[in-house]
């Protein structure tokens, strides 16, 4: 069935009003609701089912982490950084450590870099699985959530074996990784990759061909590539609209240049394409992990950094490709052991601005789908 608007515009009695014009209904999707990705409040202006306007009210999870940074030392701030995007804590850690290492002008040894890549890509897999489960649940299919979480558990077990924590890992230190790969790390990661590849196909089987899924996601939340750039959107949302940009390829960091992987691009910029982009990204992540495991060199995993980290005065901006988009850290140092300013460029915060554009003119039932497809984490939006 072709996707066409389900109402025909009525002839207008006076400009802008037809005889059936109803008053606009203001609906509040409050900070607490079931299809939540955090505490996000959306105020919808509805005309029947059609969304006329939308306003996001955020700040419910604002913890002032950037302010906290100014009262801790560089090293002490490391664990705080995980709490931004708590579903993919390892990439936050990576971004912060890369930024500080840039200021310190310290080079992480190759083994440390490869290990970082493996853990970051595992974290990308975990984050995308969480996204998949919750997004599909919002649209109504209750089963893939359990499959996705079952597979996410295997990845979280690896994190637990590596650093002791499943969710907010504090995996990396300034200068490299705190621990080397534990015994059996390689085998376990290989097993996870081998198990996960057919599982991704299983998700695709269960969801992609489903005609109800296609009807709910094709044409929903459409945004063009130019609009994405105007809204400063990055990440799978941008790639789903056809713009080929991935920080890992454009400005390779942490030896991503050594690995061969593709960047999936969507065509139509709707929810269905973003879903396919993220699925393909999961496959590419497995590819990267396999290459990194094969090529894991010997050597130390952490560089020699002084006990008290005092980067020389200056500033640097370092960006990585987090699962949600471009995660950037702008660090300003005044030569002391405490950061002068840590600014986090939050991909979810910037991507969320596009919610209004994407949901306007659509139906109320699609707002939930669009919030899911933007893949926001309120920890990052509010910091």
């Amino acid at each position: 069935m072709k996707d066409e608007p389900f109402y025909e515009p009525l002839e207008e009695v006076e400009p802008g009003h037809t005889f059936l014009d109803s008053t606009e209904l203001t609906l509040n999707m409050g900070p607490q609701h079931p299809s939540t990705h955090g505490v996000l409040r959306v105020v919808l202006k509805l005309d029947g089912e059609k969304v006329n306007g939308l306003e996001c009210i955020i700040g419910y999870l604002h913890r002032g982490i950037e302010k906290i940074a100014e009262n801790r030392t560089w090293v002490q701030f490391g664990p705080f950084v995980d709490r931004f995007d708590y579903t993919a804590a390892v990439s936050n850690s990576l971004g912060y450590c890369l930024a500080v290492e840039k200021l310190l002008q310290v080079e992480v040894p190759k083994r440390g870099q490869y290990l970082r890549v493996i853990l970051t890509e595992l974290c990308r897999l975990a984050s995308h699985q969480l996204w998949l489960g919750t997004h599909v649940l919002d649209i109504g299919a209750v089963t893939p959530l359990f499959y996705a979480f079952r597979d996410r558990e295997t990845i979280l077990n690896i994190f637990e074996g590596y650093c002791g924590a499943r969710l907010t890992n504090h995996a990396f230190r300034i200068g490299g990784c705190r621990w080397d790969a534990y015994e059996g790390f390689s085998q376990e990661v290989t097993k996870v990759c081998n198990d996960l590849m057919p599982k991704i196909d299983e998700y695709a089987d269960l969801i992609t061909g489903n005609r109800i899924w296609k009807q709910r996601t094709k044409g929903v939340g459409r945004i063009s590539g130019e609009d994405c750039i105007a809204y400063a959107i990055t990440g799978p949302v941008l790639r789903g609209s056809g713009v080929r940009w991935d920080v890992r390829k454009a400005q390779p960091y942490c030896s991503y240049g050594d690995f061969e992987f593709d960047i999936p691009i969507g065509a139509a910029g709707d929810t269905f394409d973003r879903y396919l982009v993220r699925l393909e990204e999961m496959r590419q992540s497995i590819r990267i992990i396999r290459q990194a495991l094969e090529g894991l060199p010997e050597g130390p995993v952490i560089a020699r950094v002084p006990k008290v980290i005092k980067p020389p005065a200056g500033e640097a901006y370092c960006a990585i490709e987090a699962p949600k988009g471009e995660l950037g850290y702008f660090v300003v140092s005044d030569g002391t052991a405490q950061p002068y300013r840590v600014r986090v460029r939050p991909p979810s915060f910037i991507n969320l601005q596009a919610l209004e554009k994407m949901a306007k003119g659509g139906l109320v039932a699609d707002v939930v789908a669009i919030i899911g497809t933007l893949d926001i984490v309120l920890g990052e939006v509010d910091r």
Partner: protein
Amino acid sequence: MIQSFLSYLHSNVTPGEAGSLPWVVIYVLLVFLGISVGVIFMNWFERKVMAHMQVRLGPMRVGPMGLLQPVADAIKLLLKEDLAPTGADKLVFWFAPIWVVMTAFCSFIVVPFGRTHAITDMNIGVLFMLGVSSLGVLGVIMAGWASNSAYPLLGSLRSGAQMVSYEIAMGMSVISAIMMTSMATGTGTLSMIGIVQAQLQQHRWFVFSFFPLGLIAMGVFSIAMVAETNRAPFDLPEAESELVAGFMTEYSGFRWSLFFLAEYTAMFGVSSIATTLWLGGWLRPFPNLLAGPNWELAFSLVPGLSVIVLGALCLFRYTRMPRIREMRPEAVGLAVFGAMLGLLGLVQLLPGVRERVQDIFWFTLKVFFFMYLYVWYRTTFPRYRFDQLMKIGWKVLLPISIGVVIATALIAVRQELFALVWR
């Protein structure tokens, strides 16, 4: 008087037809009890099947294999605080759940579990069932209205609109099945028992007649019945509680459980219609082909044997349970349950009982086939958006069902048509 009471047992009609009031009362109580047990079982069944499809176990703790979970839920709901929103219309608020339960149960007056196992048999049986289940829509709208809040009202109107739209497709497919009843005798019947007897006479379940028309009609009906009962994938009005609350929002505790009861009863009701119309009602497989006293005996042993097999499974699981002290209540419960099932099965094997029970068994089995489909749909499919839902009801199912009606009619009178055309 005892004589007249017992004389019913020798008749071969339903109590309503026989005019025997005491037996009618007994049958009403039996049906009520049966449906309630069925709903309780469905609660457990749904949770277990959904869980297993979702790679998890479902209720395991409350009773052996979670069998007492529905009982625990029922007790919890009964003990909950009875809230009513301020400013709500008290009378309507109180009455709405009662109304839906009443209409859902009333439609079971004509459902035949066997030749004599129905409360009564009206000669407008199917029409009565469809009509009474349509009255349930009124209860839904009353519930939304009485909640004194914009969002339940909108949700209930949506729900009501959905139910009404799909009733039309249901009705059309029912018409095509009714037309098939007139094939052998030349006169059709709307009576539920008559429909099954027509299938018996025509040696064919209606789902297989005029292949594939019967199949399409049953398919349309089974999709429409899922939408009629507001179940996945058509459960947007009740699952979209984030945005527009469903009509059940303001109900809590016992009132909510009445809605729940009504929903599952309605599911049983429409599944019974589908079973009676297309799957041959209470008929055992191959009643005409495999006729004869030996076959009768063999088939009449099936209910008892299947219950005994279930009991044996329970006992087998009991032997596999870990023998530690903490698990003893569960293990004992499972063993007792298995023993009870075994005993029930043995009772069903007794000669006097097994003829009576056989029809009920086959009917229940077919109804549970539809119930399993319901649960399967819920686990697998995402939800349809409301406009897509209405589009399917009006633009897809209705034309298909009208087409099936026309095609069935043409084929039914094909001899007369040919005679007309080739004259």
